[in-house]
Amino acid sequence: MTDPSKFALRKFVAPEFIFGIGARRLAGRYARNFGARKVLVVSDPGVIAAGWTDDVIASLEKESVEHAVYAAVTSNPKSGEVEEGAEIYRQEECNAIVAVGGGSPIDCAKGIGIVCTNKREIGAFEGVDKVEFPTPPLICVPTTAGSAADVSQFAIISDSRRRMKFAIISKMIVPDVALIDPATTTTMPTELTACTAMDAFCHACEAFVSTAHSPITDLHSLEAIRLITTHLLAAMKAPDDIALRGEVMLASLEAGLAFSNASLGAVHAMAHSLGGLLDAPHGECNAILLPYVIEFNFPAVPDRYREIGKAMGLNVESMASSGAMTALAAAVRRLCEGAGLSYTLTEVGVDQSVIPKLAEIAMHDPCIVTNPRKPSRRDIEAIYERAL
């Protein structure tokens, strides 16, 4: 019998998106149709070097849409970068934004949009539903298969002064269109491929067990888990195989649609804390923490985790709960190892002394509120300690 809680109120918001090879070349047409006279192109040096930014600029020029470029975005984009980009946006009299890159340029672009129409500094929008005025049209061309910032209602910005990441969660910052082109992921280095894909894997897992999950997000979560488990390692071995890249990119998109609507959990809350305090790479932190969080959460929603195990191809149905949990955690660890991400928190610079601080910040992250098992601060500290 179906549990009526399956039909508790849920919303599903997704941008218009075009998925497929060559999607990036449609940026100019969309910009023109959105009424753009001059767009601010937000990107980073790595993406520019790979040539994807130029492709997008060429499509703008083809449609006679002027542009200015802000490409000084770093990973874990800083609030200062948001303000810098917004200043260029205003000076250059832009009226639309095109983000080309991974999660960092896209989140930075979201921040620039918020600041430009809401006229306050970016820190003022921390939290849920704090954005009052619609941002300028935002076109996203993701060049990594992981963050899914191009379809999500999240923007994660680092406040370097407070040394913490803060989340801006608002339907207002869901981009106007995502042009998702698997071709752009072919230039990703192996390690970046691994990190971003494990970020997507985390999105899918956390969304699936989230207390805000829904039947629709479940479909996308499980499919993303299946796709990554099946194709990630193959894609890493054949980086130029556009079809394998496409499978991973599709996984990223589906994981994005899931987590943007179902939100996340303790892994992301804890990873944000690490990224803010130590500027540690987001994907790595997720990969390190995920198995420990599964072990913590499993008793609260064992059946949900069994579903994840099935999607990963594990034969968990015949197992007892503890066996299933161990098998799932081991499968995730194996996947990480296969992808070359067998680190510990110690290796990214964490030591015992910062753990209380990390736990305190994580407890205030909005992602924590949808974790299936409500942790205490001590619980979080214990997870960090185990991951050292």
Binding site: K11, P134, T370
Partner: protein, 410 residues
């Protein structure tokens, strides 16, 4: 410090919002802002349409109007659609178009971005309107536009014309007054046994006051003081005519009554036609016998101040105003004068002078002034009267002309 239940509640509220069920968990939409901007635009449009000026927006590269306000449609008598489809230069004469072109072509380079042209604007329905057009060049979205505001100057031109005509008329009036004043005696004649003084104070506008003296061969002197009704140029012209007639007739008659009767006969036609009248007091003084002989045609009565100190009295004689009817008899009276007696002839401008409270100066104040200054010379008496009138009215300019003659027997 937050308790565990507070934290529980805040987590649950936050979770609701993340799911998207918060009051402001809305997807981006520009429609509310669009609606607000459209409303603003509509209000702004109403504002422009309410203007009496015609406002045109000219797109410079395509040389066509891209927007006009309601007032332009109304004044040109064409629909908005028509104005936008007709080339802009068809609404203005060639020279105005050339000025506008010069502004567009060379103005920009020379940092000159506006011009005001007085010209005409052609209506669709035919005919034209005189206008003053102010053109300003502005750049929107990198395109050059001209904002032209055309103001109908029909009324202004009419007012300017009236002003011009008025100033011409005023000059003519000045000249007429100068001539009129030059016809009055410059100085009184010197006659043994009497002192004489006369004056005429001009008012703000032209009038018809007049006085004169005529020496007789028998040593007598005739004096006349007159006032033509009204303050028009007509009154002034008739005063001049009356003066000519008096000068011509005065020596044909000896009695003041005959002089007045003759004047009435001659002037009746002209006065009647003009709808004007003349009041006039005629007086003859024979120094040898110290006798006054006088007749009155409805004029204000002269005041006599005797040397004996009796209250001042009026010289009265029956007679109708000149110009009312023909064949009028004028009573002639005689009066013996004594040395020291003072006679004041005046026109109504003196006694009808008003103060701020709309009170008239009146005969009583005039008598008082005359008696107080009885011992003085005629000129000093005139000065005293004028001073007293000025003090009374509080202004130096009189509403009406005022003339006076003072005769003092010595």
């Amino acid at each position: 410090m937050k308790g565990p239940s507070d934290e529980e509640e805040s987590w649950s509220i936050q979770r609701e919002k993340i799911i998207g069920l918060g009051e402001r968990s809305l997807r981006k939409t520009y429609y509310p802002e669009l609606q607000q901007r459209l409303d603003e635009l509509e209000r702004f449009r109403a504002l422009l349409d309410q203007s009496n000026d015609c406002i045109f927006l000219l797109h410079v590269p395509s040389c066509s109007f891209v927007d006009v306000n309601e007032s332009a449609c109304r004044q040109l008598g064409c629909s908005r659609q028509d104005i936008l489809s007709i080339p802009w230069n068809r609404f203005f004469p060639e020279e105005a178009v050339a000025r506008a072109r010069a502004l567009i072509t060379v103005g920009i380079e020379q940092g000159w971005d506006q011009d005001t042209i007085t010209t005409r604007m052609f209506k669709c329905s035919g005919g034209d309107i005189p206008v003053e057009v102010t053109i300003r060049l502005v750049t929107f979205q990198k395109e050059l536009y001209g904002v032209a505001v055309a103001r109908d100057i029909t009324e202004r031109q009419r007012a300017e014309q009236v002003l011009l005509e008025n100033s011409r008329l005023r000059r003519d009036m000045e000249l007429a007054r100068e001539i009129q004043f030059s016809l009055l005696p410059a100085v009184p004649p010197e006659i043994a046994g009497i002192d004489l003084a006369g004056c005429c104070v001009p008012a703000a506008h032209i009038g018809g006051d007049y006085y004169d003296y005529f020496r007789r061969e028998d040593g007598a002197i005739d004096m006349v003081i007159a006032d033509v009704s009204g303050h028009s140029i007509g009154a002034a012209l008739l005063m001049v005519e009356a003066r000519s007639v008096i000068c011509a007739q005065v020596h044909s008659f000896t009695s003041p009554g005959e002089v007045l009767a003759s004047l009435n006969e001659i002037l009746y036609e002209d006065l009647n036609q003009a709808g004007l009248f003349i009041t006039l007091f005629y007086l003859k003084y024979a120094p040898l016998t110290r006798t006054l002989t006088y007749a009155n045609a409805g004029h204000v009565l002269p005041l006599l101040s005797r040397s004996s100190g009796t209250p001042c009295s009026e010289l009265d004689a029956d007679g109708l105003i000149l110009g009312v009817r023909r064949d009028v008899p004028f009573e002639v009276k005689r009066l013996g004068m004594q040395p020291g007696d003072v006679l004041l002839l005046y026109t109504d401008g003196i006694i009808e002078a008003q103060n701020g409270a709309k009170e008239l100066f009146g005969i009583d104040r005039l008598c008082e002034t005359l008696q107080e200054n009885h011992s003085k010379s005629p000129q000093a008496i005139i000065d005293a009267v004028l001073q007293r009138v000025t003090a009374f009215t509080g202004t130096s300019a009189l509403e009406d002309d005022a003339a006076m003659i003072v005769l003092k027997v010595v």
